[in-house]
């Protein structure tokens, strides 16, 4: 993988398609927008520049496995002996929600831990399948973030801001790199939640609308029915639609007449692209051509893993098709989503069962197809959970001060762990990695400098990382 692989295709695309997803839309290029700020970066050749990576990329694409609600790191990957030893002990902790130091009852993990792989990393009994892949994973045990409630923290994870309306990280990536496939959107999110910010989590914000994330269904829909909105309809016979297409082509050619401007041309081409998408896109969600053993490896056909298994397999198909930022959501639409076990930690088992095998299947499949080396896989939630019981009950409250995520593939060290929380797993203390830092690191792996990936809006240059963020060099392979 080197830069020269990248450039010609991108430049060709710009010449070939006026408004493909991969390029800067012709309309953006030539139609002076109301806000000069916005169009400044887009003028030729400035617009082309933003499509060239800042440095040689390690990863071409990202698959983000979003664990909505905040899985507990101390019950999954962050092993702390003291929690077992000091179970039920009253100790003082600084509680993120109240911002006060109060006595809290230590709660030991509900599952046993073991070391796995040649690198001997700790995984609890919640994830027996993922445990088989620890030698491919790069753990960050010292995550911390902004926002104690789901809404702000989820928005922060996706956009780098708890309150202000900012573009989603996927949109930033497409803004910076465009899409690999001219017939498909570059940023897709599979069955996203409608809660906790909903579409704002994949929205383009003030970036051009073409970098908006394309939702593939939404949380709660039957997974077999999801697809790109309005890709097809079952109301008009396909043959008739072909005639409509022919009529539109000839009407538009008459109506554009001698006034054919670039704007008008862009509209005409947008239809051509839509026609092509109708041919190409359905394959992303159609798993009919997958072998039985592939389906089984993702847990498809088993009740608990059916939904997430299908989502993960779609993600692999998208990765193959050149979708650059793919988000797979283990999510629902509630205010207390999925992994949010405030009063009933044992429920973590249900969620672990749903994702464990599919995630392992995905890793294995990507690896077998040679996709893992240039695909960055990211597993994690919006925050972690406390090592003590909430209200001295049987659940754990949110913890934005210390938690674990893992990365795999695309240029990160395999079988590695970076950073530590304190001896109870409460606060990240060694090699702390803020969510801004993780954003900077992900962009870096894709060949983008988070300080140079800027967009001028309303008189200011904006970044995904605002004025923060440090690339975590330690995790680079």
């Amino acid at each position: 993988m080197n830069v020269s692989d990248f450039l010609p295709t991108r430049r060709q695309m710009l010449q070939q398609v006026a408004c493909g997803f991969g390029s800067i839309a012709m309309a953006d290029l030539l139609h002076a927008q109301g806000d000069k700020d916005a169009s400044k970066d887009l003028k030729v050749p400035g617009g082309v520049e933003s499509i060239v990576p800042h440095h040689a990329p390690k990863a071409k694409r990202v698959i983000f496995l979003f664990m909505q609600g905040g899985p507990s790191h101390v019950d999954t990957f962050d092993y702390k002996e003291r929690l077992f030893k000091e179970d039920k002990k009253l100790l003082k902790f600084r509680v993120a929600r109240s911002r006060k130091i109060t006595p809290e009852k230590v709660m030991k993990p509900l599952w046993d831990f073991n070391r796995y792989g040649e690198t001997g990393q700790w995984v609890s009994d919640l994830f027996p399948h993922m445990a088989q892949h620890v030698d491919d994973l790069c753990f960050i045990h010292s995550m911390h973030t902004n926002g104690v409630a789901h809404g702000p923290a989820t928005l922060f994870l996706h956009t780098g801001a708890t309150n202000l309306v900012r573009p989603s990280m996927g949109s930033w990536v497409i803004y910076g790199l465009g899409s690999e496939n001219k017939n498909l959107p570059g940023f897709m999110t599979i069955q996203p939640s409608m809660g906790n910010g909903g579409p704002r989590n994949y929205s383009h914000g003030f970036l051009p609308a073409r970098v908006q994330g394309t939702p593939i269904g939404r949380a709660g829909q039957p997974v077999q029915q999801v697809g790109i909105n309005n890709l097809n309809n079952d109301l008009i016979p396909p043959e008739l639609q072909n005639h409509q297409r022919d009529l539109l082509r000839s009407l538009n050619s008459v109506q554009s007449g001698s006034e054919m401007t670039d704007r008008v041309e862009a509209v005409i081409k947008s239809f051509e692209l839509a026609f092509r998408m109708q041919t190409h896109a359905p394959g992303l969600t159609d798993l009919g051509s997958e072998s039985q053993s592939t389906l089984e490896s993702y847990g498809i056909g088993q009740k608990e893993t059916e939904v997430f298994g299908r989502q993960c397999l779609m993600a692999r198909r998208m990765a193959e098709a050149g979708v650059r930022f793919i988000q797979v959501n283990y999510a629902d639409n509630g205010d207390n989503p999925r992994w949010d076990q405030h009063s009933n930690m044992p429920l973590h088992m249900k969620h672990a069962k749903a994702v464990d095998k599919p995630v392992a299947g995905l890793l294995q499949d990507l690896k077998a197809r040679g996709l893992l080396e240039d695909t960055l896989v990211w597993w994690g939630g919006e925050f972690g959970r406390n090592p003590f019981a909430q209200n001295k009950g049987t659940g754990r409250d949110h913890n934005p001060d210390g938690f674990t995520i893992w990365l795999a593939g695309g240029g990160v060290k395999a079988g590695f762990a970076h950073g530590e929380t304190d001896e109870y797993g409460h606060t990240a203390v060694i090699n702390r990695v803020h969510m801004h830092d993780l954003h900077a690191t992900v962009l870096h792996l894709l060949g983008l400098d988070h300080e140079r990936l800027t967009y001028r809006y309303a008189g200011r240059d904006f970044r995904l990382t605002d004025v923060h963020g440090h690339v975590v060099q330690d995790v680079m392979a």
Binding site: A25, G34, D35, L155, E239, F271, G459
Partner: protein
């Protein structure tokens, strides 16, 4: 102090610095805080003594001798700014720093203070430089330009445009066709297409002044306010929900929307309009009509409509975020300035220092916007009503008060009576030996009945008022114990009962006949009457006979009771049965009275509750100047700055000052519209221009700052601004002036030479091609399909239409037929058609919507159920129209409906070809609907020529 001692001490202390401090600084800090850093963070240098003492944006980092007060130590201890960012240093290292500072922070790294330069953080214009920047200059007086082709000129605007065209050697394009013009005018002024009849009517109107008449007609239309009000709603970032994590609906937002529509329809002065939105509540004067007062309060909803995350747990931060959003929106909307940039540092480009930002922040911090809560809420205020309604309401309230008092009284009476009654009844014990009518010996025909309540057992019997003297009922009983008994007889009273019923008692001493009046209520327990006390023997039958002899009216027989009197266990009840009956009657009355009152109270309450409420601000009880937040951090307070406005803009002769006890919003409103402030007028006139001509004279309509664009015709902009002020800020007059001009009527077709010399058409040699926005597109579609519902105003959100799980914003069942301005605007999930067709992002104040061209739009037009349904309706209209005899009739009809014109020969050919091909693959309706759908997707429907 001896010199030698001093230098010796220093030498020792440098030792500590060199060994323990400098290496750490170099290793941990220099990469961001030294002259050699790639980028100096926080304007802080730690590579010299001067740098450390002077500090950065957050002030000095060390106080020699006082480790505890030094920011450097706080940062190392992770209190306040956490340094180094990677994580805390070992405790022993921090102790070294503490010791060093305690010892006076001796530092050999001195620099010549003349050469030491604090890193400069901004490159903005100074205030003085800013005052000569075009946007901030007072409105300039201009001389009307002279043009070569005087005859061409229609309004003074045309002169400015023609002049610049002539100077470039360009000629204006020819006029657009009248058909194109009427379609253009309808969409521009009311956002709806003309009907086929209206087009015909206009084409037939060739009298002089026709164009003006049609302009006036549309300016008078109530739909004018819907079209132009919606444009202001873009600027006001109007929405029906807050967005953010747990998005809240803003149930009263629609009142603001309707106020905006109303204001445009009333042609309210723009200056009054913006003043109301900043400080309407403070500008109310005595004698204002209730509608005016209500509007003044509703208008301030402008400040409350922002996208804020109300569940944010850090309420200090939330408060400042709300203030920030208010400042930023106000700045963009009225001044086209991005003031939000000055929250963390002086504006990087524009002459807006941070102190100006916090001068405004003081005003908004002194304004109440939020209400407290885990999830915060909006401030709300009650609205006044028209005088007569207000009086009615006052009378109703008084009534309610009175009624409530009466109700309470009635409740009390009921309670008291109930108590008394219970007490009384408690003492009584009617438990004798019962003989019911079904055990009695009956002579003659007695009728069984249950119609009057209060009988004993399962029924009572009566003589049916017949066969008088022939009927009797005898109750007999063999008592087990000899003794004195009170004899009780039960009956159900009534008006048709006999008054003198003979009753004969056979007892130990003989027999006795007594008479009772069965019209009267039985005195005991409403059931019994005492027949007196008699002695009865054991083993000898006691008998009581009711006869109908000598009676007129109905005789009742129900039961009798022998109540033994000579046993101590059963003392005779010492209560007045009359009293009980009386109390019971009273109780009944009180209860019904209470009930009636309750009904009245409730219905009145519902009426009184109808007083409307709006989201609106008010001044805080405590109003005060506020601190600068260093680097925008909410807990990093700098000096306080007096409340005020932007320094760069020209001040009046008498500067406006803000009294301590007021928020300053009133003064801010005055400052915005004061004659000496040129920005709001320039900005607004430019906004109106951009809507009519597709682009502004200043194309960056929301950015008049240094990074924005200079006007293409600065003299024209100022001439229009002055004209606007002279005409009292009348939007309708301004629009009329613009659309009356020659240039508005130009064709959109540019010539080759025009495109060559002026590729972006900044000189307006021809009209810019405008694309229908989301609302106009949708409203036109519904209008063609015949489904458009033109009902105006009212609440946006219908709770019965919310999605699954009770969430309003997600899965909301949108009303498909009302005008688009009444479709709720949800911040987290926009209505699909809006989202696809570039509706304004309600999270930002938007003066000119970005126009994107995406395949998602094409997919929506091709496949969305909405498009297909509208097309089908339009197709039905064709097929059910019996006046359309031929295929060509139908094509002509639908072209006129959708494009307001006839098809060209080549279009006609294409359509005929389509009809032929399609009829093989679809039903008639599908084919015609398919034609409509294709026309909706065609360029001439989506663009205004």
């Amino acid at each position: 102090m001896g010199l030698g001692f001093g230098s010796l001490a220093k030498a020792q202390n440098y030792d500590h610095f060199e060994k323990k401090i400098r290496p750490v600084l170099v290793r941990e800090c220099y990469s961001c805080h030294s002259q050699k850093a790639k980028k100096i963070k926080g304007s802080l240098l730690l590579d010299s003594k001067e740098g450390m003492l002077q500090g950065g944006d957050s002030g000095p980092v060390l106080v020699p001798g006082k480790a505890g007060e030094s920011l450097l130590i706080k940062a190392l201890l992770q209190k306040g700014p956490k340094m180094p960012p990677k994580g805390p240093l070992p405790k022993s290292v921090i102790a070294d720093f503490q010791l060093w500072i305690q010892q006076g922070a001796p530092d050999p790294r001195t620099q010549d203070s003349a050469t030491f330069k604090k890193p400069k953080s901004t490159s903005a214009l100074s205030i003085e430089e800013g005052r000569s920047f075009w946007a901030f200059k007072p409105l300039q007086k201009t001389v009307l330009p002279k043009v070569k082709d005087e005859a061409w000129v229609q309004t003074f605007i045309d002169r400015y445009i023609l002049k610049s065209l002539e100077s470039k050697g360009l000629e204006p394009a020819p006029q657009a066709s009248r058909v194109q013009l009427i379609r253009r005018l309808y969409f521009d002024l009311i956002g709806l297409p003309p009907s086929t009849q209206e087009v015909e009517e206009f084409l037939a109107d060739t009298q002089p002044g026709a164009w003006e008449r049609w302009i006036d007609r549309l300016l008078r239309s109530k739909h004018f306010g819907e079209r132009w009000g919606r444009r202001w709603l873009d600027v006001a970032r109007y929405a029906d929900s807050t967005g953010g994590g747990r998005t809240l609906t803003i149930d009263e937002a629609w009142r603001y929307r309707d106020y905006v529509v109303r204001s445009f329809n009333q042609n309210k002065s723009y200056f009054e309009f913006i003043q109301e939105q900043v400080a309407g509540d403070l500008l109310i004067t005595e004698g204002d009509s209730s509608q005016k007062i209500a509007d003044a309060l509703i208008a301030t909803g402008f400040l409350l409509l922002g996208p804020n995350n109300y569940e944010n747990q850090d309420k200090d931060l939330l408060r400042m975020d709300v203030v920030d959003e208010q400042i930023d929106t106000l700045g963009r909307a009225t001044l086209a300035m991005s003031l939000g940039c000055a929250r963390c540092h002086d504006h990087k480009f524009d002459p807006i220092p941070t102190s100006d930002y916090y001068a405004l922040a003081g005003i908004f911090r002194s304004t109440k916007t939020l209400t407290p809560g885990n999830v915060s809420g909006f401030n709300k205020r009650s609205l006044p009503l028209p005088k007569e309604q207000e009086e009615k309401l006052a009378a109703l309230s008084q009534n309610l008060k009175n009624l409530e008092a009466q109700f309470k009284e009635a409740q009390k009476e009921t309670k008291n009576t109930q108590k008394k009654l219970q007490g009384l009844k408690g003492k009584r014990d009617v438990s004798g030996i019962l003989v019911d009518d079904d055990q009695a010996t009956v002579v003659g025909n007695w009728t069984s009945s249950t119609s009057v309540a209060g009988f004993v057992g399962k029924r009572y019997i009566h003589d049916a008022n017949e066969a008088k003297g022939e009927k009797s009922v005898t109750f007999t009983h063999k008592l087990k114990e000899e003794g004195l008994y009170e004899l009780l007889l039960s009956y159900t009273p009534g008006n048709n009962r006999a008054t003198r019923v003979p009753i004969t008692i056979v007892h130990a001493e003989g027999h006795k006949t007594t008479f009772i009046n069965q019209k009267k209520n039985p005195p005991i327990n409403n059931k019994y009457i005492s027949l007196g006390k008699y002695r009865f023997l054991a083993d000898k039958k006691a008998a009581v006979t009711i006869s109908n002899k000598g009676t007129s009216d109905v005789v009742i027989a129900d039961s009798i009771q022998f109540v033994p009197l000579n046993q101590k266990k059963n003392p005779s009840p010492k209560i007045s049965e009359a009293k009980v009956a009386q109390l019971e009657a009273e109780l009944k009355e009180f209860k019904s009275k209470e009930e009636a009152l309750k009904k009245q109270v409730n219905s009145l309450k519902a009426k009184v509750k109808k007083r409307p409420v709006a989201i609106a601000v008010q001044d805080e009880s405590q109003t005060e100047d506020w601190h600068i937040h260093i680097r925008g951090e909410i807990r990093n307070l700098g000096p306080k700055v007096p409340r005020g406005f932007l320094t760069v803009l020209p001040t009046q002769k008498d500067p406006i000052s803000i009294p301590q006890a007021e928020s300053g919003r009133k003064q801010l409103a005055h400052w915005l519209v004061s004659g000496s402030n040129p920005l709001p007028t320039r900005v607004y006139v430019n906004r109106v221009w951009s809507h009519l001509f597709g682009k502004g004279l200043v194309r960056t309509v929301d950015n008049f700052g240094v990074t924005g664009e200079a006007p293409s015709h600065p003299e024209l902009l100022d001439a229009l601004s002055r004209w606007f002020i002279e005409n009292g800020g009348s939007t309708k007059a301004l629009i009329k002036l613009l659309v009356r001009s020659k240039i508005y009527a130009l064709s959109t077709q540019g010539t080759k030479i025009q495109k060559e010399l002026d590729p972006q058409n900044r000189l307006l040699s021809h009209m810019n091609l405008k694309r229908l926005d989301a609302e106009a597109f949708r409203d036109a579609l519904l209008s063609v399909s015949g489904e458009l519902d033109l009902t105006m105003g009212g609440p946006s959100i219908d709770l019965s239409k919310r999605g699954k799980g009770g969430k309003v914003e997600y899965g909301y069942q949108y009303d498909e037929y009302r005008r688009s301005i009444y479709v709720p605007v949800f911040r987290n999930s926009l209505y699909e058609l809006f989202d696809v067709l570039d509706f304004a992002d309600p999270n930002f104040s938007t003066g000119l919507r970005p126009e994107t061209t995406r395949s998602t739009q094409a997919l929506f037009l091709m496949n969305s159920p909405f498009m297909i349904a509208r097309s089908k309706k339009a197709g039905e209209k064709i097929l059910t129209n019996t006046q359309l005899k031929t295929t060509e009739d139908r094509i002509q009809y639908i072209f006129n409906r959708i494009l307001n014109r006839a098809p060209s020969p080549s279009e006609l050919k294409s359509i005929e070809r389509y009809l032929q091909a399609a009829s093989a693959s679809g039903e008639d309706l599908e084919v015609w609907a398919g034609l409509c759908q294709t026309l909706f997707a065609s360029l001439d429907f989506r663009f205004l020529k």
